[in-house]
Subunit: 227 residues, 2 copies
DNA sequence: GCCTCAATCAAACGATTGTTTTATACGGTC
DNA sequence: GACCGTATAAAACAATCGTTTGATTGAGGC
């Protein structure tokens, strides 16, 4: 399947320009990094699947680490852009959902639709995000912060404003909890299928989003602990 | 620090028996696997930090993969045992928290206290769990299922019974969301510190537990979507 | 004292790692 | 048509990988 996919890439996208070489590297690296981790795949496998020469990675990106960084920032950018676009559309009004739920959906939807559906493989970028989230080395934390901090901060502030009855510190905790469910869900670990013997399906983005917004909305609104 | 730790191990634990060699391998491997992933550390680094010969891993465990499996099952066992002990203690009664909150705390507390505090390094096992949760290869999923499925299923059933007004499928979704927050929190990704510029501290197990139970309790009780 | 077996050791196995180097091919500019 | 810089190619770099081998050790049974 890998080679037929590659041939399809070649057919659909014109001549072999340098930009195409870069795209093919990024695409193959995203798939493989997501599937087996950064340390788990070699440059030879990446370049072979991309159909380019081994030296192309160091030629265009400088190193394996820089490849990961370029790959991640490029894939994250559409998500944050769409998030901020949806955030600007959030507004109180008759017939609209409560502000909090609007914000939650605006924050989560791009991560789900652009991370789960787009690209050749569904959960590719979602799982890659989850991998970086678990990593403790400075490089990976810096990449994540660089890609997501600005837009994420904007949502945290908006949610704090939408919940005046909940102290800011409490909202921060709950925001952290939300990140956990989001990343775990887009990573599609399959754990719940294993626990429920497969009676559970999580593929439908709209259903997952609706259920997640309902769940998180209730959690955010819970009365704070009186400590 | 690594070497002084090693010397402390040696001082506190008597002669060098085979069991001590195994323990030192498991301890060093847990630290390094958690910090940099299974593919990210070599057996030479593990055995060096453990102060044992390189061949000891294959001698006692057979392979690197079997080492991970043995390591994970050994560390997971106290968590599931404590979970089931606390589950048996859950009971409705005057002056006690609602059943759901009792169940949530019984499920979460062992993962937090035995995963965050115990051992030489706090977040060691928590981060290792998170790594396995993100992995897509069959081996890792099998290890996770083997270690946690039985006790986790028992809690899912108990929560379904505690929430008769919520359909089972909805509880399964929310259980999945709970796993996400739990794993993300015990992995201590540091993302929320990064977003809030460090005004956030997550080290205190009791505080994190209380806030998480409050948050999840509200989420589990939310009225299901009427689709 | 000798034998035995588990335990540890150094050394080497072939394979693979990321990166660099050297060479070859190609397209546009003078 | 010679020249130039970009892009691709093949080959080699030293380093490290998981695993296996064969030798050496030392304590317990006879």
């Amino acid at each position: 399947m890998g080679s037929s996919l590659l041939e399809a890439d070649r057919r659909n996208s014109g001549p072999d320009t340098p930009a195409r070489t870069i795209d093919r590297i990024l695409s193959a690296a995203a798939r493989l990094f997501a599937a087996r981790g950064m340390a788990g795949v070699g440059l030879r496998e990446i370049t072979a699947e991309a159909g380019v020469n081994l030296a192309a990675v160091n030629y265009y990106f400088g190193s394996k680490e820089k490849l990961l960084e370029a790959l991640f920032l490029r894939r994250a950018q559409p998500i944050t852009a769409e998030r901020l676009r949806l955030l600007a559309l959030c507004a109180e009004g008759p017939g609209r959902p409560p502000m909090l739920e609007q914000l939650l959906e605006a924050f989560l939807r791009p991560a789900f639709s652009l991370g789960l559906e787009a690209g050749v493989d569904g959960a590719t970028f979602g799982r890659l995000r989850a991998r970086l989230a678990v990593e403790s080395e400075e490089l990976y934390r810096r990449i994540l912060a660089q890609a997501f901090n600005p837009s994420t901060r904007a949502f945290l502030e908006a949610i704090v404003r939408a919940l005046p009855e909940v102290p800011r510190a409490e909202v921060e905790w709950r925001f952290h909890f939300m990140l956990g469910t989001m990343i775990y869900t887009i990573a599609d670990s399959g754990r719940i299928q294993s626990i429920t013997d497969g009676s559970f399906r999580s593929g439908d983005v709209e259903i997952a989003l609706a259920k997640l917004v309902r769940f998180l909305g209730a959690g955010f609104r819970a009365a704070p602990l009186g400590d």
